[in-house]
Amino acid sequence: MGYVAVKGGSSAIEESIKRLQYQRIKAKKKIDVEVIQGTLRGLIDKIMSESSLYARELAALAIKQAEGNPEEATFILRAYRSTLPRKYYSQVVDTEDMRIERRISAALKDIPGGQILGASYDYRHRLLDFELYEEKIEDLEKLLQEFEAEGWSNSEEEASGAKQKTSEHSYTKVPKVISFLRAEGLLPPVKIDDSEPDDITRKSIEFPTRRSARLQTLTRGEAGAVTALGYAAIRGYGMVHPTVGELRVGYLPIHIDYPLQEGNEEDAVYIGEIEVTEVESLIPQVIEKEKGRKEIEFTVGYGLCYGQNETKAIAMSILDSCLAKKDLLSPTAVHDEEFVLLHIDAVEASGFISHLKLPHYVTFQSELDSLRKTKKKEENHESI
């Protein structure tokens, strides 16, 4: 059976697109991109991370266009990204330079620089706040004034005390938990590796992967997919039992080399900053030493993604660790890099599943023909 070209859908498709537009506006309510950008921080962070494009305003626009559907918003933003020229590569960004907003450790209570809770849902009850129905701009302005007054000018004494505290323990430069564990010899030392990273947006991923390709794929993975696989790994489908050594949320400065002239480090161009979540998970593993002696050693799983996406960053660190284990006797799916890396991408996964909605009339007809033939044969057989 050959392919048969059919037509007749164009006008229905046009009406369907109109219907979609109608659905978006039928409530006669309008939401400005500025309002989305100022209020839907969590969704914007998710979309930017999965789109692999740090652009807050465009993410807000994509959310508006997609009526808040994250899978559609990510698709739109990725598509737009593909139309833009890549002009530069940044200088290497080191998270030691992070301007910290939040920094906690589940492994150690007392860490240099301290535990800074920042802004988090972790310490709140998950109860619906019905007062938000009545929220007014004037209320917000009043609250903001209170925050500002508390933070700086309310008490000179308190401010100068805090200033001193800041300069003593400038938390923007606090040592990383893994750095002092390394300094104590509790983690194996690592050397700086400046090999050029793979770029999966320029060259399709190849197996076995290099670490750079794994991390790039994980960081742009769909949060739910990455979390689900990370969860499976610690529930028994993976050989990892992590403790969060350190979780940081904060801003990183981005610099590029000045393209018009050769120059030194101080000639770089500052273009802005990105907010990221970073996680180092400590994973114990038993190492066999000489004469059958066994020893526990810690490895570090790494998670880093755009925005405040803490669950995703932790799950990424778990999967990073799972994929680094190469010589397991009975590896499960979460240790299989093809399984993990090829199924967590939001656009690829949703695109493939969505294609099932497209007409499969010919292939399905052929399946029906086979079924009819089989049925007929069975009937003939029974009648003999």
Binding site: M48, S52, L53, Y54, A55, R56, E57, L84, P85, R86, K87, Y88, S90, V92, V93, T95, R99, R102, K109, Q115, L117, A119, G151, W152, A162, K163, T166, Y171, T172, V190, I192, D193, S195, P197, D199, R211, S212, A213, Q216, T219, R220, I254, I256, Y258, L260, Q261, E266, A268, V269, Y270, I271, G272, E273, V276, E278, E280, V300, G301, Y302, Y306
Partner: protein, 140 residues
Amino acid sequence: MQRKRRTTILVKGSMELARTLAEEILERYQVQIIQEPQQGLVMVKMRDQSQHTLFYIGEVLITECKVQIEDTIGLGIIQEQNPQKAYYLAIIDSAYNANLFETKAWEELLIREEKKNQELEEQERLQILKTKVDFTTMSL
């Protein structure tokens, strides 16, 4: 003042300062736009803290503009969609590249803006420091 410090001050700082400096040049010199402000991407290269290898976290949206004053080209780059500021930054960069005398007087303004930026960050820092945990051991 070198470019890294200067661009940090101007990108973090107010539009007002960038406009003031750029307009000073526009009033006295012929500024030719070589490249209108246009969007582009910067790929961000990260150092992974676990193995100290490099990887790409993703791209950042930028607006870029190029101008020329006399024979000297200047470049303005800023994160997100910000064509006006990219244009002003390009003029300021070109003025520094051409070593125009006006730039000598800018030092003080830039240092004042830097102080303002630092104070804002300090204010934010003090707010965040309030969420620092002060562990005390409970007596049983």
